[in-house]
Symmetry: C4
Subunit: 270 residues, 4 copies
């Protein structure tokens, strides 16, 4: 597939390979990857620590300039990606290809990572909306998905086991509804302020069936305790199903990949 590019095209391709995940020994590309990943991790760290009052007051300016720096870098990255995407086969068309790229999950995540900064500059927003927008900065963590195989793996596993997960999820919801409804009818009279309605009782249901058991809600009547015991024993099995399915699929996926890698290595005579 050797093609001859104009010097501009060659320049463009060099940029594309640089900003994409480094494949082998491309030092510049690797450096760029590490720079972006470090920036993402630092951003997540900033969003988290910023909520600590004492730190926020002290380093307000640092956080501010860091945010601006981040947005500039991520904006440039976004523009470059949009410019170079035409080199990829399926986004080849200069207009429709770019539009198609803009609606890929990858590009949407990239956009959501910078949009919360630009929006308040153009629109009037009240404090509430601004707070939600700040939260959206956490979307930046998903930009890591490009570099980490872990995220792609979990998506693969979930796609493969879609049907099983759907089945167990249905069971789980039915179990939760039945358990909470029964408990509501039994405990409502004894604790009308806590077991106010079936949706409210579901909070107890979740805490019990996941075995978290905060202890803010629990039955007090003998019948309620009896039911709670039966539900705990029966229901935990149902709630453990998706966990078991994901865990075993995940492991099988990983061991298959390892096997493939070994086979490939043997073929390469290594």
């Amino acid at each position: 597939m050797k093609t001859s590019y104009s010097s501009k095209s060659r320049y463009k391709r060099r940029i594309l390979t640089t900003i994409n995940k480094a494949d082998g020994s491309d030092q510049l590309s690797r450096g760029f990857d590490i720079f972006i990943m470090a920036l993402i991790v630092l951003n997540v760290f900033a969003v988290i620590t910023e909520t600590v009052q004492s730190i926020q007051v002290r380093y307000e300016r640092v956080f501010y300039y860091f945010e601006i720096f981040t947005v500039i870098v991520f904006s440039i990255e976004y523009v470059i990606r949009l410019w170079t995407c035409t080199l990829i086969e399926k986004y080849r068309h200069p207009v429709w290809g770019r539009l198609k790229y803009m609606f890929s999950i990858e590009a949407i995540i990239d956009l959501l990572a910078i949009l919360p900064f630009y929006l308040p500059l153009f629109f009037n927003m009240d404090a509430r909306v601004l707070r939600v927008l700040r939260l959206f900065r956490l979307m930046r963590v998903f930009k890591l998905g490009r570099y980490f195989v872990a995220f792609q793996l979990i998506v693969t596993v979930m796609k493969k086991r879609k049907e099983e997960l759907l089945i167990t999820f249905t069971l789980l919801v039915v179990m939760l509804i039945l358990a909470s409804s029964l408990m509501y009818y039994i405990e409502h009279e004894a604790q009308p302020d806590i077991f106010t309605s079936i949706p409210a009782t579901m909070w107890w249901g979740i805490a019990t069936l996941t075995t978290v058991g905060y202890g803010d809600v629990y039955p007090v009547t003998p019948l309620g305790k009896l039911l709670g015991s039966v539900i705990a024993i029966l229901g935990i099995g149902v709630f453990a199903l998706p966990t078991g399915i994901i865990a075993s699929s995940f492991e099988r996926e990983l061991s298959e990949r390892e096997k493939n890698r070994k086979t490939t290595r043997q073929h390469e005579g290594k």
Copy 2:
């Protein structure tokens, strides 16, 4: 198996295939399935939200008319099923076949789904019984069993692993009795109001062995804490047994089904 039916019989058969789960491309049957499933889901949603005081007051009439609509639809469905069941081989006899059908699990669930509405019309009932009857409306969720393979799957798994589940359940009960009895004898003196009797102590036993741990009951004496620690470590293993058995059986069942499906598809040359 081509048979010639009278026009009435053909009409009846058309109705049977329509109300049964759609097999392939039968649009009418599919539509009917979706309608019934939607009605069931909405009913469950109604039973749940109805218990929220504010919603109940506001939409009382909506809930009332929806209930009447549901009962009418489910009653017609029940009657049609009873009428057409004679087309199924094992319920062929017009009287005994229908009686036999009426006592199938499927038909009993269908009946329990509508009975709570009719009973108060014919019998005098006090408020307490009425409340329990309202609860029975939740039985409607089991009507979904006809459409979802998940419910049938869990029944299959439990039948196949009946013996293992019985064994582990015996162990679990013995473990619970021993743990609770010991804890009662140790903690009764220190907390006579909480560890009042062995049955009462079993509430602690369940909360500990399932690892829910609400925190309403726990030992306070050093000896009680020591015993509680030993029981927690030993007992959790026993309580995890049925969970593990169900989870692994469930998965094996699902992967076997998938294999069968693949084999069938290959035979069909696809």
Copy 3:
């Protein structure tokens, strides 16, 4: 192995097969098994319900006569077993064989099931010791071990996996000690009344590592919370090891037995 017995010996053998677990179609032996099992279950039920004040006051005489009846039956059973045990090869000697039988686990359990009744008749005992003796009546539940395969199964599994369980138990203890010691050094100053010493902190360790989490003890300092988080994530894995090992061994044992049974059946041409 056909031997001719004197009429006394034949009579004795008939009694032995009757009191032992029924093997096939021996109706008398089966009846005896069910009678003893029912008596054991009722006894456990009695020991449990007796601790409920209201029931105890009301049915005191019933509990008393039931206890006497139980002890008489179990005593006769014990004497018969001791008398007939000489028919079993390894207990053949009339004196040493019987003594050897008396020290078998089975016979010790049988003795402990009746001893708590006789001891106070011969010795002066204060209330405290008497209460502990009452607890010993629960030992009767282990008499079920003769009839249920479940108990034998768990013993088999534990013997087979002795080494693995020992290893994981060592890890578990080391993990508990390190976690509790670290937490003690960190939290002792902030909560001197709760984290009083390392052994006291172990109660927190157990509640956390088994994920029971009653909520009576938890770190409050930031450093303590950080350590608690790390320990929870690391330690739960270690504490899940024995559970996983027992669960998977148990399942493998059960499926092997099933396979053997199938093979046997095929050999019998069934």
Copy 4:
């Protein structure tokens, strides 16, 4: 590999085999192993019980002399190991070999086990540092690693599954960050004193996702409860991944070792 040693060298070798883990029927070496192991276990027991005020006051002198005895024994052991290590191929050089040995994990653990005693003799230390030094005495438990295969096993398993553990750990951290951040934005207004910042909310995140659920922190708003429910269901699966991976690897490792042992035994014609 028969070599002739000078009498000194033979003497030295005898000491080395004695202090190393006994291989077969070497009674002296076995005795030494048991002595050191008992000393380690007693030390850990001492460190733990010493923190109980009443015991510490009563047996202060016993603890003191036991500590001195321990340090003397462990110091002699350390010196002997350093002296004899030159007999091991890779530490053969009298100076560099010994230096290399000093920086092996084994030797560092041995040093850390005695250093906390010597340091305060040579340096002036305030109470705070002294307390941390006392904690370091717990490092002695790791000296057991030489004798127990369990510790080596867990290290092996973790090395083999390094990649999987890294992946799941990444997922776990991302899950924790997202869950805690969302919960912080939702609950901060309703409970500003408890959900003070995202790092503080992470304490809730850990307690929920590990299902410990102490009950000191939990959402109270309907939206917070809804999110908490979704997170509990989704997140527990992710947090169960490393546990599942370690458990299954651990088991596979153990069964492989057993198989190898059996094969070896067969080769030896046993």
